[in-house]
Amino acid sequence: MNKSGKLAYNAAIVIAAAAAAMGIGAIVLAAVGADIGKAYAVILTEPLKDMIGITEIVVRAVPLSLIALGIAIAFRSGILNIGAEGQMLMGILACSATAIAGAALPKPILVPLAILAGAAGGAVWGGIAGVLRAKLGVNEILSTVMLNYIAAQFYTFLLRGPMMDPEELVTGSGTPQTVRMPRSAWLDRLIPGTRLHTGVFIAIGLAIVVFFLLWRTTAGFRMRAAGAEAKAARYAGVKVERYLVIAMLLSGAFAGMAGAVEILGVHRRAIEGISGGYGFTGIVVALFGGLHPAGIIPASLFFGLLLLGADMTQRLADVPANMVLVLQGAIILAIVSARQFINNPYVQDKLSRALAKLFGRAAPPAPPGSIEACPDPSDSPDPCLAGEPGVSEEETR
């Protein structure tokens, strides 16, 4: 296939997938008697209509991208971290404790300190799963699921106990929440009247850091090697267990930072429900973004739009709130299915030959025994490998 043909093909597949996802959504919308056209129009365009909507998309994208970056580090290192939810909570606890304790510190010191504390909190929680896996072989899916529940309980324990805002006791409201973060710990808002905060720069900065970490440093090289084929990595002198733990520490640290940035930039105190679903949506964003920072940033914006847009359909198109889950689920299923057509050379080969047959033209024969295209490794965990198909063996020799 030539370049424009390939583009058209990919576009067609993506459109088909989107149509399939919207079709599933439409069935459910029809079942609840909603105005399908209006619902979709609201989801996809309404948030973009004003500054508040646009900034709110970004506000969601910040923690999503941070979590997704961390998850990408873990996945690349061969470990399936579904514990971002719990790690985020632990990050929030550590961050808020630090910010409250350090209220007297000047802003340029306190803000980084609090964020680092958040990272440390998340890292500890992620590290537990890492150590359990590396030292005792406990499956990380299991341990991270369990650790999520444990973290949630620990979180409420602290918020309604040792860390509760004393004022809540005085007034008797009893809301489980900490005191407000000191002003010196706040991340500044960028546009008045909106919640867009400087955490955006942190997210973008860290995306670049993650890119460099994974693809430009030896540590990243080793982590990826350990994740891609532990046996080979061990053979090459990589201490695989150590890198597993490091990867989980980092992954947890990112989730912790997501929590820290979220409370310093948005909520400004630790309350319940902050993590709500970010941990899981973060996994989806990470995989959607191809486990690569360059994909994760746009993916997080897309999911920010989707989350916000779907919320708005409730009030503007009279659709039950759960519809957002339906759409997210349908989109995920459709897109991951479509990737098969986009990335798989075997399927493409078959399709293009079938098409050629259909239009009565013979497919150009591949030179016998030559390699004109290497198998597209995009199914492999490393999208960086998915470069342009190489030239033929004859030419390169």
Binding site: R216, Y235, G237
Partner: protein, 510 residues
């Protein structure tokens, strides 16, 4: 299974494409009754693909299959089985965590009762077949507990149990010891009086010994077809590769080296195996700079543990290993690598390379932590790329670009990647385990030449292999390992196949 006997089987104009590659290009092939047809060709020539088509595993893009003159279509291996065709695949097709009987039952549809698996019937059939063909197997053994040779036997029994009377054997000997190979060849020639056989192998003397006719495949096309007895192995090799192949030999030149000045000196090494047994039991061995020591032995006698212990991948119970004077026993893999050890591992696909990494990345896998591939923890992509282009050239690694995922290369090219990495590091010592297993003659020649070149540069090489020919061709001295002990070390020029074979079986004749 009362189907008609196979008198002739013909493939006509079989063509098969994979994305970007024409694996079989209008191939014609016919096999008669009670004959052995050898199919040879370089790695990637299309042999396996062609046979998979015959088994109904792949659907051909073009071409027909004729059985006894009438056209048949095999949509799944079941269709092939129904016509009495069976195949022993190149890679084991055994489910490791099931028993031998369960593996056979998987294909034996007659044992599939509605709510019950008639494992008794399967067991009976296995014993029947193994009795008849003198292929001892234990139906209740778990496959992962069997040695490679035993697994190969199970594969054969399995195929026979399914009623095959037309047998396809895809490189059945590549993992066998010489004895096992000889036994298999003898068995097959006996069986060829009842069966038709297609035999694929890279070992041309086996082809000579067993087959009646030979077809040579090159880049998806049949380039030669004829009677085996009219060709010498050298002719066949030349036809296969398109040029003369001559496996190089070491020239020991009688240079006596003073004992004890080993580049690699191993003293009283004891190492535990996976099951806690003593896999290596007091091994002492010296390898001088510029010397190749061949370690001969039936696999499973401690070779793997030995190689792993030498490379820091397995703990050492007692004893010492000195590499150029530095103690490396019990140190981690990274440290051993740092001391200048090179290692060509047995399992090239998952140990020697990271399959999803590019060729380029794999070529610097071991040394990524230091100059020149990285600086202060950051990779130097330019240097890494230059290195890859340079090695691709020098080692004739055939890949579209050095960005290609290494796992998509053929076995021979993967081996070249490993070789290139290990040799370009300029190691002081090198452990090479089965370096040419499954490779074609051209690739084998190349690898042997490289090993000899390193030898003359002063590298101490430990060559672990079951190929006596390979060991005898390349080694200055040959050590024979048996049950974790070195039975004897003999000068290479004094060794004979017979004497080595006896030693490998544990017979010491002082």
């Amino acid at each position: 299974m009362g189907h008609e006997p196979i008198r002739s089987l013909e493939l006509r104009g079989i063509t098969k494409r994979f994305p970007g590659i024409l694996a079989c290009d209008h191939i014609d092939l016919s096999v008669g009754e009670h004959s052995v047809r050898a199919l040879v060709g370089e790695n990637g020539a299309g042999k396996t693909t062609l046979m998979n088509i015959l088994m109904g595993l792949y659907q051909p893009d073009e071409g027909r299959i004729l059985l006894n003159g009438s056209e048949v279509r095999f949509r799944s291996p079941n269709d092939a089985f129904d016509h009495g065709i069976g195949m022993v695949h190149q890679h084991f097709m055994l489910v490791q965590n099931m028993t031998v009987a369960e593996n056979v039952a998987l294909g034996m549809k007659s044992s599939h009762r509605p709510f019950r698996l008639d494992i008794g019937a399967v067991r009976k059939r296995i014993l029947e077949v193994s009795e008849r063909h003198d292929l001892p197997v234990n139906p209740d053994a778990l496959v992962w507990q069997l040695s490679v040779g035993e697994q190969q036997r199970v594969e054969l029994v399995k195929t026979l149990c399914l009623g095959a009377r037309f047998l396809i054997l895809d490189e059945p000997t590549s993992a066998l010891t010489p004895q096992e190979t000889d036994e298999l060849i003898a068995l097959l020639s006996k069986m060829s009086s009842e069966l038709s056989i297609v035999f694929i192998s890279h070992k041309l003397h086996e082809v000579k010994a067993l087959s009646d006719t030979v077809s040579i495949l090159r880049r998806g096309r049949i380039v030669f077809e004829g009677r085996t007895e009219d060709q010498t192995p050298a002719d066949l090799a030349a036809l296969m590769t398109g040029h003369d192949v001559e496996l190089p030999r070491v020239d020991s030149g009688g240079a006596e080296r003073p004992v004890g000045t080993g580049m690699l000196s191993i003293r009283e090494l004891c190492v535990k195996g996976d099951r806690g047994n003593l896999a290596l039991d007091g091994v002492t061995l010296d390898i001088a700079p510029g010397e190749i020591v061949g370690l001969a032995g039936v696999s499973g006698n401690g070779q793997r543990e030995f190689a792993e212990a030498l490379n820091g991948l397995r703990g050492v119970d007692s004893g010492s290993i000195l590499l150029d004077g530095a103690q490396i026993a019990g140190r981690c893999a990274g440290a051993v690598i740092g001391e200048g050890m090179g290692y060509i591992p047995e399992d090239r696909n998952t140990e020697g390379i990271v399959p999803s990494f590019s060729v380029r990345e794999n070529l610097v896998l071991k040394d990524i932590g230091g100059e020149p591939w990285s600086k202060a923890g950051f990779l130097r992509l330019g240097a890494i790329a230059d290195n890859a282009n340079d090695l691709k050239e020098r080692f004739d690694i055939r890949c579209p670009t050095t960005d290609t995922a290494a796992g998509s290369l053929s076995g021979g090219n993967i081996q070249k990647v490993i070789l290139a990495r290990e040799l370009a590091r300029g190691p002081k010592a090198l452990v090479a385990v089965y370096p040419t297993r499954g490779l074609d003659m051209g690739a084998e020649e190349f690898i042997h030449k490289q090993l000899l070149a390193r030898r003359s540069e002063g590298v101490a090489i430990l060559l672990i292999s079951e190929e006596l020919e390979e060991i005898m061709n390349l080694s200055d001295r040959i050590a024979v390992i048996y049950k974790g002990k070195i039975l004897k070390v003999v000068p290479g020029k004094d060794a004979s196949k017979r004497s080595l074979g006896l030693l490998m079986a544990g017979v010491v004749d002082e």
